[in-house]
């Protein structure tokens, strides 16, 4: 994993500097860009393995960059955003970003997220097609529609299973409410977030030891959900 090529898109020179230092210390090869245009050029010429994108860029927003990047690349994208910019963040995730961090963030947190994204993209390349998934003490057989917790079968309603399957497909990524609703209920239901809350609560109660402190089915308030865990 070290030696991976990272594209760092950030307009603030100070942040770029310390991120560059931290990433290089971890053994990543870093390419820096401070504008949207520059970032697209770097992305197409340097063939990075992952991108860290600040949403507030001087010549356009990061969302636009992600949308264009997604048209030809599946590389993981980690978004950096300010706390107020809730909608922008969700829009970036909807456009195809994989994860987000709110400024200010800790460098160890950023590195952990980045590693997780890189690992997942490597796994996805290697193990696509397998229908058996395991996280924590949960085993899911996507083909057989079967879920086991510590070896015991857990009964899920069809909606709950579809929801779980959608989370597994996006394993590690933050899936926005819109993405999950569209995938599970269909495009007409994108606004009914309370559906999601009720069914996610059921899933947590069936699969988590402590539903209020979940280990796998993580809530990203106002944004969406993500499935975590090895």
């Amino acid at each position: 994993m070290s030696g991976a090529r990272i594209l760092l898109v950030e307009d603030d020179a100070n942040i770029r500097r310390f991120l560059g230092v931290a990433l290089r210390d971890e053994g990543f090869e870093v390419f820096e860009a401070d504008t949207c245009k520059r970032a697209l050029i770097e992305a197409s010429t340097r063939q990075p393995d992952a991108a860290i994108v600040d949403l507030g860029l001087p010549d356009g927003d990061g969302k636009q960059f992600i949308a264009e990047l997604r048209s030809w690349s599946a590389m993981p994208v980690l978004v950096l955003s300010a706390r107020e910019r809730e909608e922008e963040k969700v829009a970036a995730l909807d456009a195809g970003a994989d994860d987000y961090l709110v400024k200010p963030f800790g460098v160890p947190e950023l590195l952990a997220r980045l590693r997780a994204l890189l690992r997942r993209s490597a796994q996805a390349d290697a193990a696509s097609g397998s229908s058996a998934v395991r996280f924590g003490d949960i085993d899911v057989d996507l083909a057989a529609h079967e879920v086991r917790r510590r070896g015991e079968v857990v009964r899920l309603t069809p909606i709950e299973f579809r929801l779980l399957a959608a989370l597994i497909r996006g394993h590690g990524r933050v899936l926005t409410h819109r993405q999950l609703l569209t995938e599970v209920w269909g495009p007409g239901h994108a606004e009914r977030t309370h559906y999601l809350r009720v069914h996610m609560a059921n899933l947590r109660h069936k699969l988590e030891d402590d539903p209020a402190q979940p280990k796998h089915l993580i809530t990203e308030l106002q944004v969406g959900y993500r499935l975590l865990g090895p």
Partner: protein, 883 residues
């Protein structure tokens, strides 16, 4: 078909009345036939009973008249001290309305509803005091004798020969919630009277023999019982109407009563009121102002008083200008769809044999109108005979008439030699016509007399004497006099009409000017200036204006020249009723206070001191005044809404600026903090094990707490802006708790957390990020103030309409502070402690919870520790289809 449908207007009126009734106090009347039947006793007895049951009762006024049994009842009951008023050198006691309102008991007893208050009281009648008490939601019980009922006043007067002047309008009686008839057979009453148990005021004592005759008492008793029965009957019908609305109800009758302005009208009005009540009809009292120009002030005031009486008895009142009473009345009846016309009949005096009465006219020309004729008995008197219009005699006109006649004589002298005498007469006739045209009837008649004299003296043989040789000249004289009178009459009428038209024109112009000026006014100051100037001019009066402030307290607007009594103005404003001179309320005031009523609400009060107080009895002037007042009110309302719109605009702009500022500040504070924290992190990982590492760690930590402070400050600022918008969605409390715990993973490290959320907790409509801030702040607070290793608990409980969330710890407990103080910004439990933070967290938490309609509090936990709990309202979460 339509006849079977209930009358929607009536149903609506009932719903409205019900709503008003709910907020109003209840009125209970102890009703009797005459003094001495024991009304006060019965009233106090019922009050006593309520008092013993623990009711908050108050005796406002109770006349014991020195009777022991009644006085005994009063013992131990809370009594209101009477208000003492100096009146013409004597100190009189009066019911203290303001003290009763201030005491606000559940029930107040106010004896003698018909009592007239001493001059200088707020209201002229006690029943108005009672009305205000009811309006304030206070129940009232009171007493009333049948003779004091307005509509029966004259009937009782005719039975007993004594007219009382203190009356109560019938609607007060009819709308009372409860009427208790206090009845005593005539014989028993007479016995009590003989035993001296009945108190009589001195004046009435003189009439005792007349009044307390057995026949009278029986008649009064019957009258009161029948009136009470009528009321019960009306209630019964009301009940039926509300219960069986599908039964057939006839369309409501409408009654029109024509008032001529002559004495006797009052009887007609009372009669009409009784008839209307029996027929359950709406009624309209109409006065046709036929001979306005011939009428004196006294007569006009009389008309106004009669109309006021009619209004008090529940009529709609109309004054119509018109030349012919019959036509105007019938027109009005058709316009209001009234099917009955009530007219008074007076015997026609013999000298008016040629006069066709209004009754005859209506019955001949409009046979389709139901005519009800009431015999009034009193012979008709010409208004001119009652009172001469007080117009000074214009001596100048007579002088000119004399001069004209002299001139005609001089001109005629040479002509008589050429012309025949018949033509000379023509010259005199022309003179008379011209004088009558120019100077009116009186001068015309004078000119006719003079002309006849001159003609006779100088031209009719034998000349130089007033004797007449030929009788045919007598005919000439009569003709001349007749022509002068007719021309004079016509001229007078013509002039009057011109004057009326001119006055109307003037008023219309005045109103138009006021409207134009007001429409151009953009500020309250401009409106006030226009109002003060124009009103003073239109009505020859001194004008003052009072306008309400934000708290609806009136303040006098400077610039007026009329002394405004703020307390009266405030009363007028609050009650939306006129007061002051010429009204029933505070009639002793020098000025008339008029509410400026706009469609939405009363916008202010105008005080006017008229140079001629009788102006207010003129229907024309009254109409103009009303029109002007409503114009003014409309203008004030318009400006008010313009101001509201402007301030909203300013507010929106201000909010936009504030939001921009907040966004900028938060960005500019966060970016450097990001760099500081990130750079410290990056450097620390390089210098692992180095002596500098702890330094970098503390940079990192302090930057972190600074960041939290900034976040709290920004949240606080955002919530402090008025009407901060919450992003409320149906959220799961479990997810919010989970998210808060996840954010505090690091700091919470050494504290075990116990979570107890009830199963089946419904979704809550909250702003998830803000509620998360509340939990984060409460948890951080717990972490900060408790030793590592102690447990922290999070639990939720469901109540009827809210959910309570508790965060508890097992630390040292709460500091000794006034309750609620803990949640004040910048209040820290222990001064100068080493624990970071400036106590914004709890203040922010409170603000957020309160913005959600909840409540936050802290209490000590047993055996030790603290519990912070907040409530959130439960709503109706949307349905989720099971799948």
């Amino acid at each position: 078909m339509s006849a079977t449908r209930p009358d929607p207007d009536r149903l609506l009126a009932e719903v409205k009345a019900d709503q008003q009734r709910a907020a109003r106090g209840k009125l209970k009347i102890f009703f009797g036939a005459c003094p001495g039947v024991g009304k006060t006793y019965a009233m106090l007895l019922s009050l006593r009973r309520l008092h013993d049951e623990g009711g908050r009762v108050l005796v406002g006024v109770a006349e014991t008249h020195g009777r022991n049994d009644t006085a005994q009842l009063l013992e131990g009951l809370p009594r209101l001290a009477p208000r003492r008023i100096e009146y013409r050198g004597r100190t009189l006691e009066e019911f203290d309305l303001d003290a009763a309102l201030a005491a606000h008991p559940a029930l107040v007893a106010v004896d003698e509803l018909a009592h007239a208050n001493i001059e200088g009281s707020r209201h002229s009648k006690r029943w108005q005091d009672v009305d205000e008490l009811l309006e304030a939601g206070i129940d009232v019980c009171t007493t009333l004798n049948v003779q004091h009922l307005e509509s029966l006043n004259d009937v009782v007067g005719r039975i007993t020969g004594i007219r009382v002047h203190e009356t109560v309008p019938d609607p007060v009686f009819d709308n009372a919630d409860d009427v208790v008839v206090v009845d005593l057979p005539a014989d028993e009453l007479l016995k009590r009277l003989a035993e001296g148990k009945v108190y009589l005021p001195d004046a009435a004592a003189l009439a005792r023999e007349n009044f307390f005759r057995k026949g009278n008492l029986i008649a009064l008793r019957e009258l009161s019982l029948r009136r009470a029965a009528d009321r019960v009957d009306a209630q019964m019908r009301d009940y039926r109407r509300t219960r069986f609305i599908d039964t057939v109800w006839p369309a409501r009758e409408r009654l029109l009563v024509g008032l001529s302005g002559a004495p006797g009208d009052e009887r007609l009005v009372r009669h009409a009121a009784r008839l209307a009540q029996k027929l359950e009809a709406d009624w309209i009292a109409v006065h046709v102002d036929v001979a306005h120009w011939r009428r004196g002030k006294q007569a006009r005031r009389q008309v106004a008083k009669t109309l006021e009486l009619a209004a008090g008895l529940g009529a709609e009142t109309v004054t119509l200008p018109g030349e012919e009473a019959a036509e105007a009345l019938v027109g009005c009846a058709r316009e209001h769809n009234a099917n009955r016309l009530l007219l008074g009949h007076r015997p026609r005096p013999a000298w008016r044999f040629w006069h066709v009465s209004t009754i005859d006219r209506v019955s001949h020309q409009h046979p389709d109108i139901d005519l009800v004729v009431i015999a009034l008995g009193e012979p008709q008197v010409r208004p001119e005979q009652v009172e001469r219009p007080e117009r000074g005699i214009d001596w100048l006109a007579y002088l000119w008439a004399s001069v004209a006649c002299l001139a005609a004589t001089l001109v005629a002298t040479p002509l008589v030699r050429v012309f025949d005498l018949a033509n000379v007469v023509m010259l005199f006739l022309l003179t008379v016509v011209l004088v009558a045209l120019r100077f009116g009837r009186g001068a015309g008649a004078w000119a006719a007399l003079l002309a006849v004299g001159c003609f006779d003296f100088f031209f009719v043989p034998p000349r130089g004497t007033l004797s007449v040789g030929d009788t045919q000249y007598l005919f000439t004289f009569a003709l001349m006099l007749g022509v002068a009178l007719i021309i004079g009459q016509l001229t007078a009428r013509l002039r009057h009409e011109a004057r009326v038209a001119a006055a109307r024109e003037k008023r219309a112009t005045a109103l138009a000017r006021l409207a134009r000026e007001l429409s151009g006014a953009l500020t309250v100051e401009q409106i006030v200036e226009i109002a003060l100037r124009d009103f003073a001019g239109f009505f020859q009066s001194r004008v003052g204006l009072a306008l309400p402030d934000m708290a609806n307290r009136l303040g006098i607007v400077p610039g007026g020249d009329c002394a405004v009594d703020v307390s009266i103005a405030q009363w007028v404003f609050d009650h939306d009723q006129q007061a002051g001179i010429g009204t029933a309320t505070l009639a002793a005031a020098a000025a008339r206070y008029l509410p400026l009523k706009a469609p939405m609400r009363v916008r202010g009060v105008m005080a006017m001191e008229f140079a001629d107080p009788d102006l207010l009895h003129e229907p024309e002037a009254q109409r103009l005044l009303e029109a002007c007042c409503s114009q003014l009110a409309l203008a004030l309302e318009r400006v008010h809404f313009v101001e509201v719109a402007q301030s909203t605009l300013v507010q929106i702009e201000g909010e936009r600026m504030r939001n921009t500022l907040l966004a900028t500040v938060s960005h500019d504070l966060r970016t450097p903090l990001t760099t500081i924290m990130g750079a410290a992190d990056a450097a620390a990982s390089r210098l692992r094990g180095d002596a500098a590492e702890p330094l970098l760690q503390s940079i990192r930590q302090q930057a972190g707490s600074m960041l939290r402070l900034v976040e709290n400050l920004l949240d606080m600022a955002r919530l402090q802006t008025r009407g901060a918008r919450l992003d409320r969605q149906w959220q799961s409390l479990e997810e919010i708790v989970g998210s808060a715990l996840r954010e505090l993973r690091g700091p919470l490290g050494e504290h075990p957390v116990h979570i107890e959320l009830p199963p089946g907790l419904p979704l809550l409509e909250v702003d998830a990020l803000l509620i998360e801030r509340v939990l984060v702040n409460l948890l951080e607070n717990a972490v900060k103030h408790t030793p590592p290793g102690t447990a922290i608990g999070i639990s939720a409980h469901l109540h009827d309409d809210q959910v309570t969330v508790e965060v508890s710890d097992a630390g040292p407990g709460l500091p000794e502070l006034a309750p609620g103080k803990l949640f004040e910004p910048f209040e820290r439990g222990r001064k100068e402690s080493a624990v970071a933070g400036i106590g914004l967290g709890l203040a922010l938490a409170r603000r957020i919870v309160e913005a959600h309609g909840g409540h936050i509090e802290a209490r000590p936990r047993t055996p030790h520790g603290a519990v912070f709990s907040f409530t959130l309202p439960l709503g109706q979460p949307p349905e989720v289809e099971a799948a």
